[in-house]
Symmetry: C2
């Protein structure tokens, strides 16, 4: 009897607690705009409509929380990518930092030009030059050493135009989308052409996305014992390019289920958006269109970085959401908030 009484009391307490929490959440939901940095309009409304649709129990479009997977490109979608990918600034800074160990670079391209500050000449060799720069700066150390190198760089390096830390150049409206989706039971993933281990050291603090929810390009690695201690060593060999067709492949490999929402900004995200929207039930695809030359950058069909051409046509044809950065966003970066 005594036990039964305690059990009933526990159930009562629990029921009351749940009811009160539900009330508190309801009150919150009514009071707060989930996307305050978005101007009212089609883009904002499409996000809210989709979230309401898939989270309304009993509706035909309801999606179980476990299936609420949302994937986000990083460069140009969650943070800026001009005048070049931020990871390339990282690589160049590393070349400079490592130059004293490599006197031969003074006479070898692409390093010689890079050290003279002539990035254009350094990259004139195309993909091969780029790969050489990436490999000498992203391989040859353990995963833990590389993590520390990235953390130090992120904490100190500044963008040449804005003079801000790179992680300050994330898009406030997209941070709100991430938080809004998570508050509605979504699991948010990054699926980026950028290096997976270049992103993981800071995505949790900056985006609230933990390392295990980051998918990206990678180099091969090797497990070995060093003085009885296991280490993982980064090798100067590409393992996976998480771009274009690589994005659905990477999603399938890492996540193992199809997203119901995907966010990108370039043709490199097109296959991810196609893959996402080809699933059954309610689906959502969004392109960030960089239209704001004043507060950020304006570029699309002719840009070498973040080209949005085929994707823009397909988005319009299929009715995907296209964000007009200039019109739709009240602010760009968190530090723009007054």
């Amino acid at each position: 009897m005594q036990q039964a009484f305690v059990r009933v009391q526990k159930i009562r307490f629990f029921g009351l607690a749940v009811a009160l929490l539900a009330f508190a959440q309801l009150a919150n939901a009514q009071a707060i705009d989930p996307l305050p940095s978005w101007n009212e309009g089609k883009a904002k409304q499409s996000i809210i409509d989709f979230v309401k649709e898939v989270t309304k129990e009993g509706s035909a479009d309801f999606v179980l929380p476990a299936e609420r997977i949302a994937t986000f490109d990083n460069d140009g979608c969650l943070w800026s990518e001009q005048p070049m990918y931020f990871q390339l600034f990282f690589a160049i800074d590393r070349v400079k930092a490592l130059a004293h160990q490599h006197p031969e670079w003074e006479n070898n391209e692409p390093f010689a030009s890079l050290l003279k500050g002539d990035i254009k000449a350094a990259l004139a060799g195309g993909k091969q030059s780029l790969l050489e720069i990436i490999m000498v700066t992203h391989a040859g150390m353990t995963t833990e050493e590389f993590e520390q190198i990235v953390k130090d760089w992120v904490a100190t390096a500044k963008h040449p135009v804005t003079k801000r830390h790179y992680t300050e150049m994330v898009f406030q409206p997209m941070l709100e989308v991430l938080a809004y989706l998570r508050a509605n039971g979504f699991k948010t993933f990054i699926v980026s052409g950028g290096g997976i281990e270049f992103m993981r050291p800071w995505t949790e603090a900056v985006y609230g996305i933990p390392p295990e929810q980051v998918v990206g390009s990678s180099v091969k690695t090797k497990f070995e014992m060093r003085e009885g201690k296991p280490v993982i060593v980064r090798l100067p060999e590409l393992n996976f390019i998480d771009d274009n067709e690589g994005k659905p492949i990477g999603i399938n490999q890492h996540i193992g289920r199809r997203p119901i929402a995907a966010f990108g900004n370039s043709d490199g995200d097109l296959q991810m958006l196609q893959w996402t929207t080809a699933g059954e039930g309610s689906r959502f695809a969004l392109y960030v269109h960089h239209t704001d030359a004043e507060r950020e950058w304006a570029y699309d069909r002719d840009s070498h970085i973040g080209r949005l051409d085929k994707g823009l046509d397909e988005a319009r044809q299929k009715g995907w959401t296209v964000v007009d950065m200039k019109q739709d966003w009240k602010v760009i970066y968190p530090h723009d908030l007054k």
Copy 2:
């Protein structure tokens, strides 16, 4: 004023709700043994001690919930693996199902022997034979088709000795460990030599582990359009072997942080346990030792499947937990529960 009053009321309701929930959880924690299928003893106590250690706020060993990563081998650790890996039974069943499309198999090894029921002869060709069997049964279809094939097999196929569905042959005591860890804020992952897409269709229902927390071996895949619809096609080429040195590599690739607890049963798990325990702070490693010839199987140093030799020595030397299945487990499978 009105608004401020509502806000204060909301905070009060919320505070009360949280307090009541905490009370209900505390009462539950005191009442229930988290590992009821484990006999009292060193193994059980070591699990409970570790969990208390890393979850006690303010203690030196406290680990933030986000860092509470636990990885589990599958074959022989979460379910049985005798008289051969269950995925091999799947492959053989698939060869039989596909035989009518391949009349040439009647004269070609390893298929001819397999179709006559002589598995030993079929596998006499070693790794090459095995690879051929895996490739014809695991590639050539889309990922969605393969998922359905696995689901159908899991729902119907029976183990030749126990006559049970394979997913009934999971270890009840390990299900309790998974649930106990998750109740204490851990994220549980599978890290298995088995096929990643062979496991994902059923791990969520059976273990409570969602697809995105399953790491395993894989074949290469290809994204393509079929009649305007994107598909991912499985190719007959190995992509990654998630065993031995592959386990820390797979963990680093998929999870991106080092586990604080790892569970295995064979030498193939040794590098995962080494990698896990080499991290700083409190760490936990456990080997399931198959010692119960009556209720399950007994094997270790000389077994071709799930060999536990070097790992057993290292576990004893380093003080890792070694579960004596016969002594430590009250029941083996969920259906043994009375």
